[in-house]
C-alpha cells in the first residue's frame, strides 16, 4: 500500500542519529531534535536509506500508522512523562549524594 500522499513520503534528512525510537515494527533512528536519519525494519534488514522509493512503497503507510499511534500515546501520557523525568532527576541527585557521602537521603 502506498503512503497517503506525496507529501507524506518518508525521507531521511539527518547526517547521523543520537538514539532510536522503537515502534512495533521499526527502529527509527533520529537526532535529539527529531530529524530522521534512517528507519530499520525489525524483521529483516530492509531500511529506508537502502532504497527510499521501495521502502516508502512497501512500508511507508505502516510506519506512519505506528508513528501516529505513538504520537497519540505520547500526548495521552505527556504530563506523566514530564513527572517521570523529574523523578529520574531526583534519583540522580540522590545517587550523586550517596556517591559523595555514602549516605542515603530520606
Amino acid at each position: 500500500m502506498l503512503v497517503g500522499s506525496p507529501n507524506e513520503k518518508v525521507v531521511p534528512k539527518a547526517d547521523g542519529a543520537d538514539f532510536a525510537i522503537e515502534l512495533p515494527s521499526f527502529y527509527v533512528l533520529v537526532t535529539i531534535h527529531g530529524s530522521l536519519y534512517d528507519i530499520y525494519n525489525k524483521n529483516g534488514n530492509d531500511h529506508l536509506r537502502a532504497n527510499i522509493d521501495m521502502w516508502n512503497k512497501t512500508y511507508g503507510s505502516k510506519f506512519l500508522r505506528e508513528l501516529n499511534e505513538l504520537d497519540q500515546l505520547y500526548d495521552k501520557l505527556y504530563d506523566r512523562l514530564q513527572l517521570s523525568l523529574i523523578a529520574l532527576d531526583t534519583w540522580k541527585i540522590r545517587l550523586e549524594y550517596f556517591k559523595e557521602t555514602g549516605k542515603i537521603l530520606p
Binding site: N7, E8, V10, A17, D18, F19, A20, I21, E22, L23, P24, Y27, V28, L29, V30, T31, I32, H33, G34, S35, L36, D38, Y40, N45, H47, F63, L64, L67, N68, L70, D71, L73, Y74, L77, D79, R80, L81, Q82, L83, S84, L85, I86, A87, L88, D89, T90, W91, K92, R94, L95, F98, K99, I104, L105, P106
Partner: protein
C-alpha cells in the same frame, strides 16, 4: 514539516532525555547496586495486569546488515503489561512505568536477592528508596 516530521520533532527531545538518564545510570551501575544494597532477581521482563503502559530502554544493534555494528540506545513507549527491570539502567523503566501508570502497581511485590536471602518487597518501597519520600508524595499528589 510533514506530519511525521512534526511528530518526531515533538516527541524526540523528551524521549532523548530518557536515553540520557539511561546512559548516566548505566555508567554508574556499581553505585546504583551499592545504593540499593540488593540485586534484583527479576533480570528481565516484569509483568503485571496492573500495568497498562511501559517505557523500555535497551541497547540494540540495529544496522545488522554490515560492519561496523553500531549499538543504539532504543526507547519504546507503548501499551504493555510490564517493563524491563534492569538495575544496569538505574531502574529507569521501573520509575517511569510506575509514574505513567499512576502508581497502579505500587502494592505488587518484587522479588529481590540480598545474598543469601530472597526477599519480597512492595514496588512502592523500592520507588520511595530511589526517589525519596517527599518526591513520592509530590508525584502521587500531582499525577492524574
Amino acid at each position: 514539516l510533514s506530519k511525521y516530521e512534526g511528530i518526531l520533532d515533538k516527541i524526540a527531545p523528551t524521549l532523548y532525555k530518557f536515553s540520557q538518564y539511561a546512559k548516566y545510570f548505566r555508567s554508574n551501575h556499581i553505585s546504583v547496586n551499592n545504593f540499593l544494597n540488593f540485586y534484583a532477581d527479576i533480570s528481565g521482563y516484569y509483568s503485571s495486569n496492573k500495568i497498562s503502559y511501559a517505557l523500555i530502554e535497551k541497547n540494540k544493534v540495529i544496522n545488522y546488515d554490515g560492519l561496523p555494528y553500531i549499538v543504539y540506545l532504543t526507547i519504546s513507549l507503548s501499551e504493555l503489561n510490564g517493563f524491563v527491570f534492569d538495575q544496569n539502567y538505574g531502574l529507569n523503566g521501573f520509575i517511569t512505568t510506575m509514574v505513567i501508570n499512576n502508581f497502579s502497581f505500587e502494592d505488587k511485590k518484587l522479588i529481590i536477592r540480598r545474598a543469601p536471602l530472597y526477599l519480597s518487597i512492595p514496588a512502592k518501597d523500592l520507588f520511595v528508596r530511589v526517589v525519596g519520600q517527599d518526591m513520592y508524595e509530590t508525584l502521587r499528589a500531582n499525577t492524574r
